[in-house]
Subunit: 110 residues, 2 copies
Amino acid sequence: MLNYNVSLDFIFHALADPARRIIVERLSQGPASVSELAKPLAMSLPAVVQHLQVLEASGLVRSEKVGRVRTCRIEPAVLSTAEQWISERRTSWEHHLDKLGDYLAEHPDE
Amino acid sequence: MLNYNVSLDFIFHALADPARRIIVERLSQGPASVSELAKPLAMSLPAVVQHLQVLEASGLVRSEKVGRVRTCRIEPAVLSTAEQWISERRTSWEHHLDKLGDYLAEHPDE
């Protein structure tokens, strides 16, 4: 439970930055090298590497170096962890609305 | 597009804190007063209010004061905005995998 929460801290923190979301967006279309990821971002390569470190710490991205090229790829299971947390809250809210609707239908005068 | 991105910054930042996720979790079961929200949290009321301000700034929570009681409720559309962003990235990744699978099926010797 604790690990689960800690990882959500890191995942949502990683997604809270627009540059990091651009990286995730690019990687959702397939693996890419660090220099490919840097291309659309108006920042230095070290700044891109720092964003990648935040993404790797969250588990959203992993990378491996072959020769001189570091290739990054997305970890879809980690993306799903965040999606599922939100989806469960939304479902819980819809369930609350359903119960409220039932109550109002049974007590039309209130 | 800019507004959309800025709001995702605030939404994901709001969700990156465990106390704020506990608040969202509670509110997904129905509206609650500030003191009800504070009960399960091991922190001062001003600290809870600060977390609520972050949640309100993101649009995830809205509140209204009637008499002496401030009641908070969740904004499900804002929750969906974040869910949709993640879901689109996951779908994009699955589409990439499908294309890769098709390619490999057509080129079995590679």
